[in-house]
Each structure stands twice: as structure tokens, then as C-alpha cells.
């Protein structure tokens, strides 16, 4: 194996054009290699020490999160917690303190697991992914990123350089919950993210989006019936969200849960995510991560 360490994005792009694969924290790459699932690539370029990739920048248009920003950075960043709360909820659930320090948002996205925790929050927050290779820079909607388990639209020589989150509308809130059997070192049995925007006056719904984790080959968005807009967020509306989420789910059965259970419980998760997003949009203080506040997972 050949190992190089890139100091700049350009160095990383040159190495990738010559066939190297990027490693950020290595928490997916190394574990897969040591378990014998997939050997380490022939040539690796480390991208975790590139200053431009480890930064978060905010301006009036929104936020730019460098691809090598760690989950530990995300879970405590004041702007993420305040405005993009679903992403903080997700980052705070990843693995253990060590996993959160080592694991990066770029690695999470590019690994493209349907059980990844930052995916559904980024979908409901209308995230875009910046991909760069030597000859071009492009941005794509995160909802178009994944094509199957472990598969994305990115070419092998494309480096994910940043995730871009647009400025939030006033009176917006978001949340992410996942079903877990343990409170740490766990992957989502299922998960759901929701983002809610309320009308300027009163608590009527102006916009909503919901996305689901680990119930399909990729993260999926849920189509919420148009009639929901302009209505109060009450039990009836939350029930409809739960039904729509369960209908959207096409889960598999595995050792962690049956398909039937996943399909049902993802509706419950979507309902809770939406109710909390609604509460946050109204200005209620609901602690991060939502899983702990909502008491999900064994004590």
C-alpha cells in the first residue's frame, strides 16, 4: 500500500487523479479492512489534516461545513445546534466519544450506508454536496447523492470538499431520532429526521420535510400530503406523517429487526422527529440529542 498525506485540497486531488483513495478518520475504512470485508485500497491519501476541509464557515446565505469536520465538532457547534439542530442530534449519536472525534461528516456521506445518521438530517435541511476533481467542481443536492448501499453518484476521483446548508427560514426547527437498542456503539435500527417551518403569524404549518434512515437501500424522503400545509400541527397531522413514513419504508429483515417492525416503528420515529421539530420551530428548548431527551434507547 502507498500512503501520502495531503496538506492541501489540490494535493489530494492530484493524488486521487493518480488513483489514490481518500482516508479521513478511517473509522469505516479501517474497520472494514480489519474485518476482512474490503481490503485497504492500494494507494491512500490522508485528507484529515487539510485545514480548509476541517473548517465551518457561516454567512447570511447559510453554512459551509468542511468534509473533514468531525461529529464531535458538529455536536457542540453553536450555529449547528441552534439552526441545524437535526444534524447536531445525529452527530451526537454516532458511536462513542472516540468515534465522534475520528469520524467525519464527509466520510459518513461518502461511505453511503443507508444506516448513516447524518444523511436524513442533511436531506431535510436541503443540504448540497460539493464535489471536486482536478477538472471540475460541482454541487449536487444531497437527496440525489446515493444510488444504493455503499454507492453514490461521485466518481472515484471526486473529493467531497464541503456540505452546504442554506440559511433557515424564520420560525423553523428540525430534529432527528433513531431507534437504538443500546445508547452507544450502535447503528440505527431505523431513524427519522424532520424539518418544520411555521407561518409568520400563528402556528400553522408553512413547510415540512421528512427523511428516513435504514428503511430502504438509501436514505429516502417522505412525500407529505399537500393538505398538511396551512394546518395546525396537531395529533391528526402527526398521525398522517407517521402513516406516510411507514408507507414510504421498504425495509429488509435482519438480525436487528424484522421488516414488519421497521416499517411500523419508523412511523413512530417520524412522528417524534416532527413533533420535536415543531416544538423547536415554536422556540421550545428541546435538548440535543433528541434521543436522550425523548428517552429512546435503554437507560
Amino acid at each position: 500500500m502507498r500512503f501520502t498525506k495531503a496538506e492541501t485540497v489540490e494535493e489530494a486531488l492530484h493524488a486521487m487523479a493518480a488513483g489514490a483513495r481518500p482516508i479521513a478518520g478511517g473509522s469505516d475504512l479501517m474497520v472494514a479492512a480489519r474485518q476482512g470485508k474490503s481490503p485497504l485500497p492500494e494507494s491512500i491519501v490522508a485528507i484529515d489534516r487539510i485545514p480548509a476541509l476541517s473548517r465551518m464557515d457561516a454567512d447570511e446565505r447559510g453554512m459551509r461545513i468542511g468534509a473533514a469536520v468531525s461529529h464531535a465538532q458538529l455536536e457542540v457547534d453553536p450555529r449547528i445546534v441552534a439552526d441545524y439542530t437535526a444534524l447536531a442530534d445525529a452527530a451526537a449519536l454516532v458511536g462513542s466519544p472516540a468515534t465522534r472525534h475520528v469520524g467525519t461528516i464527509g466520510g459518513n456521506i461518502m461511505n453511503s450506508s443507508p444506516a448513516m445518521d447524518t444523511g436524513a438530517p442533511l436531506v431535510v435541511l436541503d443540504g448540497r454536496v460539493e464535489l471536486r476533481s482536478l477538472d471540475r467542481t460541482r454541487q449536487i443536492d444531497i437527496s440525489e447523492m446515493w444510488t444504493g448501499p455503499g454507492q453514490s453518484v461521485a466518481a472515484v476521483d471526486e473529493l467531497c470538499t464541503a456540505i452546504l446548508l442554506p440559511e433557515r427560514a424564520p420560525r423553523s426547527g428540525s430534529g432527528y431520532v433513531r431507534l437504538e437498542y443500546r445508547r452507544a456503539m450502535e447503528i440505527a435500527v431505523v431513524g427519522a429526521a424532520a424539518s418544520v417551518t411555521l407561518a409568520p403569524d400563528g402556528d400553522l404549518l408553512a413547510a415540512i420535510s421528512v427523511a428516513l434512515t435504514a428503511v430502504a437501500p438509501t436514505i429516502v424522503s417522505v412525500e407529505i400530503p399537500k393538505e398538511a400545509i396551512g394546518r395546525p400541527v396537531d395529533d391528526d397531522l402527526l398521525d398522517r406523517i407517521a402513516v406516510a413514513a411507514s408507507e414510504r419504508a421498504q425495509p429488509i429483515s435482519d438480525v436487528r429487526a424484522s421488516a414488519r417492525y421497521r416499517k411500523h416503528i419508523v412511523g413512530v420515529m417520524a412522528r417524534r422527529a416532527a413533533a420535536s421539530a415543531f416544538g423547536r420551530a415554536r422556540g421550545e428548548t428541546i435538548g440535543v440529542p433528541l434521543n436522550r431527551t425523548a428517552g429512546i434507547g435503554a437507560p
Binding site: M1, R2, F3, K5, I23, G26, S27, M30, V31, A33, R34, Q35, L40, I44, A46, D48, R49, A72, G95, S96, P97, A98, T99, H101, V102, R183, A184, M185
Partner: protein, 154 residues
């Protein structure tokens, strides 16, 4: 590949295959065996070390990626033969049975206390959530961390 790793403040020249994990290089090349291999699968935390103060499962971390970082292992916690307060409280609280998880527990607890000198029990549980102990039932480990945070000298 040859490179330098800085462990507990000392530079060690390393000549090892680039695919080696940090744990095996610390144990077999550097020669410090306090860091343990429990699962070699990023599950148990026995292999925990600090990289620039942040906890890392060394079994699942590429050794070459740790170049340029200050690596702290369990051996780096004592000073001049005096145990670190965490080590002392772990022993005195009866938080050590077989002892296999202990180095990793202490390293995680050190990272926790550096970041949050006044943790409540929930913070301690979260701070140690990547470390498994098959013997003690955790209560005494949490007590030892609590006593250290309180600056308890007994």
C-alpha cells in the same frame, strides 16, 4: 515505511508496514504494552489512546496517520512514578477486577475530565460509553471518575 511517532512526549522511530494499525505499532514497535487489544474491531475500547488529547480506538486507526500527533498512552499518565489521580482512585475504589479494560477506561476518563472537569454521572457514562467492562458492573468505575473530578485525595 519509516516514520516517527511521538508517544508520551518521546519520539520513536518506526519502521513498519504502512497498513499496520496504531495499536500493534505502540505495543510491538514502540514496546509499550499498557494499551490492550480486546476486540480488534472498534467495539470494546481497551485500545484507547489519546491523539492530541482526543480519544481514539488505536486498533482501528492507521499508525502512519498518527504522525505529527502527540500520542498519550496509559504509561503517559503517571509522573515520576506517582500514579495519576484517576489511576489511584480506580485502584482505591475497587474499580479494577481483571484489569483488562482499565487502561482504556482511564484514558477515556482522562479525555472526559480534560474537556469537562466537573461531569455529572450522565456525562461520565457518556464519556466512558465506548469502553466495555465485563467484570465490575461499572458503578465503581464511575465512582472513581467522580472522586477524581471532585479532587478527592483519599
Amino acid at each position: 515505511m519509516t516514520y516517527i511517532l511521538t508517544v508520551n512526549g518521546t519520539d520513536y522511530p518506526v519502521d513498519a508496514d504502512v497498513t499496520r494499525n496504531l495499536l500493534s505499532v505502540i505495543r510491538e514497535v514502540v514496546g509499550l504494552t499498557g494499551t490492550k487489544e480486546g476486540c480488534d474491531d472498534c467495539e470494546c475500547g481497551a485500545c484507547m489512546v489519546l491523539l492530541d488529547g482526543r480519544p481514539v480506538n488505536s486498533c482501528s486507526y492507521l499508525a502512519v496517520q498518527a504522525q505529527g500527533c502527540a500520542i498519550t498512552t496509559i504509561e503517559g499518565l503517571q509522573s515520576d512514578g506517582d500514579l495519576h489521580p484517576l489511576q489511584r482512585h480506580m485502584l482505591e475504589s475497587g474499580a479494577v477486577q481483571c484489569g483488562f479494560c482499565t487502561p482504556g477506561m482511564i484514558v477515556s476518563a482522562r479525555a472526559l475530565l480534560d474537556a469537562n472537569p466537573d461531569p455529572d454521572d450522565e456525562d461520565i457514562r457518556i464519556g466512558l460509553s465506548g469502553n466495555l467492562c465485563r467484570c465490575t458492573g461499572y458503578a465503581r468505575i464511575i465512582e472513581a471518575v467522580r472522586k477524581t473530578a471532585a479532587g478527592d485525595s483519599g
